[in-house]
Amino acid sequence: MLLNRLSGAFVVTLGLLLYFMIIPMHTEVVDYGWMRPQSIPNACAILFVFLGIVQVLFPTGATSVGFFELLRVSLFAIVTMAALWAMARYGFLAITPIFVGALMLLVGERRIGWLLGGVVVLPLTIWLTVVLLLDRTLP
């Protein structure tokens, strides 16, 4: 229930932030028309505040936050982020094998055959197909 109340509180904060800070700063003012650029965003922000308060006061629904899983997911997200950054810098063909290798080793894959499949065959196949066959670009 605590987690439910917490997520409700987060939604209320988001709504307030949007209404008072983000929406006014990031929309332009237009002086004609029935609908303004901020009409629906503001309506959304108000609904966030209202629904968030309801969720804080009367929390409903199940949550499934697992600390261990969250930690591992963050790890994979960070690895992916790093890989994307490196890919933009050094290119798809140089980084993808390292990326796939890292992922597979992290989840505990040690069988050399499968590892080779992920590190060598996969990136090469994608690269050949996209760049040479389809004439499109990769990072």
């Binding site: 987690l3 439910n4 997520s7 409700g8 939604v11 929406i23 990031h26 929309t27 332009e28 237009v30 028309g33 029935w34 609908m35 303004r36 650029p37 629906i40 965003p41 959304c44 922000a45 609904l47 966030f48 629904l51 309801v54 969720q55 009367f58 409903t60 629904g61 199940a62 949550t63 499934s64 936050v65 899983e69 591992r72 997911v73 790890l75 994979f76 997200a77 992916t80 982020m81 994307l84 890919m87 798809f92 993808t96 990326f99 796939v100 992922l103 597979m104 992290l106 989840v107 505990g108 894959e109 069988r111 499968w114 992920g118 996969l122 990136p123 994608i126 389809l134 499109r136 990769l138």
Partner: protein, 510 residues
């Protein structure tokens, strides 16, 4: 208006050997690309179009139609096998398809998807071929006011997907709607909420958000849950009864009403330009669930759920061509891509299309029917192939899926920016699911949000800002009443009935 010789000549063109080869090639390619996580029929077509410039018009269009139809069924494959749908429609398929696969019946689920997809597709193709002219005229009567009411109705079906918390479902829907607000506002064209990223002028890229939330979030979760011993991704028990790998005639027949309803919903919504298959897939799913004798079994591997969505979203494709061929208005992104292919070959879709290009159009119809047949035949083979590929260990399958999502989004959004958006929404999707907020509801609202705002703005101009003036639009009024009915029925009456039955069962478990 078109004489029989033209029709026969057109159909004959479609059946020529070269043309058949292009249909087969298109279907096979579409199924393959559609089945890769992170790509879908839209991208497959966009990539294929420049290559078709050198072909003759019928071959080019047959090929593209094949790619589109193949891609649509292909999209169901990763949704069923590893729960990584690339589009909202496929997310509807995954709701019941993936639980079936987890129970060791992936082949059965994929076959049902294939059969119902081809059924819905063929139904709408036949409607297209026989009734397109009158239907297009009716579709034209749907003006902005009616479309707005229809969008409200589409939103109301979200009520059928509410889980255990109405508040959370509503928050997810509002969040989806809000994310759709990024980019140029539809009435004034001023950029909003783009935080200095000019890539966001056109809004958050749909594919990046859908693939991030639906596929990449799930990939992260699965990678995180790989335990000490790495298992094959899906294991089909050796001892499995042969019937669990098939769809029997009786099972197919048992889904006849479900598929018929799906096909009709898909055809009707497809014929109206600009609604899209997302609404059709979920409308069909929600109505099947709530009319079922056992609504609680949905989401846990009820094969009717697969049949309902696949029949509906495939029916949209054929019907999308009704406004395209009869009046030259594209009904969806894929139809718009087909138009640009038509135009490059000097064929201008419009009111004179049947008169000027009758033979080509009947050739196209022939190719569509052939593509359905090929989809069925090639699909049987390709689903076996995928069932085999998926027996590779989870470590490889999910890593590969992640790389494919990155590649697919890079190619379809034209750069790293889209991939970054994908990653952000993957994290958001993971957090939302963990806290019990439905990403499927988010995605529906996100996909429908733009159109809702645009049609609301158009409606207000037409009604001159007076909501009561809607009295003059009976169709819109009827749709709004229908929305209220569907919210009450889907969100309140049907769940209560289900609970009562469940209670009765718990009290007397005889």
């Amino acid at each position: 208006m078109v004489d029989v010789t033209t029709i026969l000549a057109g159909l004959g063109d479609a059946l020529s050997l070269t043309n058949l080869l292009f249909v087969i090639g298109g279907v096979a390619l579409g199924q393959f690309i559609g089945a890769l996580p992170g790509t879908g029929p839209v991208m497959a077509m966009a990539v294929a179009i420049p290559f078709t410039f050198v072909l003759d018009p019928l071959a080019a269009i047959s090929f593209l139609v094949g790619v589109n139809k193949g891609g649509l069924f292909g999209g169901a494959i990763p949704a069923i096998l590893i729960n990584t749908p690339g589009t909202p429609d496929a997310a509807a398929t995954a709701l019941d398809g993936h639980p079936l696969a987890k129970k060791g019946k992936p082949v059965k689920a994929m076959k049902m998807a294939l059969f119902s997809s081809v059924t819905g597709d063929t139904f709408s193709d036949i409607v297209l071929i026989t009734l397109s002219a009158p239907l297009a005229i009716i579709a034209l009567q749907m003006g902005p006011v009616e479309i707005f009411a229809l969008m409200i109705f589409a939103f109301s079906i979200i009520a059928g997907l509410i889980g255990d918390s109405i508040t959370k479902a509503l928050i997810a829907a509002v969040l989806g709607l809000f994310c759709a607000m990024v980019g140029l506002d539809p009435e004034h064209g001023t950029p909003r909420l783009y935080f200095g990223y000019f890539e966001l002028f056109d809004g958050l890229p749909l594919t990046a958000v859908a693939i991030g939330m639906l596929a990449v979030a799930e990939i992260f979760r699965r990678l995180a849950n790989i335990g000490k011993s790495i298992l094959p991704t899906i294991e089909i028990p050796d001892t499995q009864d042969a019937w669990d790998k098939r769809v029997s005639l009786a099972e197919y027949w048992a889904c006849r009403y479900v598929m018929a309803r799906g096909a009709i919903i898909g055809t009707v919504l497809g014929a109206i330009p600009g609604i899209g298959s997302t609404a059709a897939a979920f409308m069909s799913y929600a109505s099947t669930k709530q009319t079922s004798k056992d609504p609680d079994s949905f989401g846990k591997g009820n094969i009717q759920g697969v049949a309902a969505t696949e029949a509906a979203n495939s029916a949209v494709v054929g019907a999308n061509l009704i406004p395209l061929l009869a009046i030259g208005i594209p009904g969806s992104i894929t139809a718009a891509l087909l138009i640009s292919a038509f135009k490059i070959h000097g064929i201008q879709p419009g009111p004179l299309l049947f008169e000027q290009q009758g033979r080509l159009i009947y050739g196209l119809f022939g190719a569509m029917l052939m593509a359905n047949l090929m989809n069925l035949l090639i699909g049987q083979a390709s689903l076996r192939l995928w069932a085999r590929i998926i027996s590779a260990p989870e470590s490889l399958v999910f890593s590969a899926a992640l790389v494919l999502c990155i590649t697919g989004v890079y190619a379809s959004t034209g750069g790293m920016f889209g991939v970054a958006v994908m990653l952000v929404f993957a994290i958001l999707g993971y957090v939302m699911t963990s806290f019990g907020y439905s990403v499927v509801i988010f995605i529906i609202a996100f996909f429908l949000g733009n159109k809702l705002e645009l049609s609301l703005s158009q409606t207000l101009v037409i009604l001159n800002g007076d909501p009561l003036a809607i009295i003059n639009f009976p169709v819109a009024l009827a749709l709004l009443l229908l929305s209220i009915f569907s919210i009450v029925w889907l969100g309140y009456l049907a769940p209560r009935r289900a609970r009562k039955r469940a209670d009765a069962y718990n009290n007397n478990p005889e």
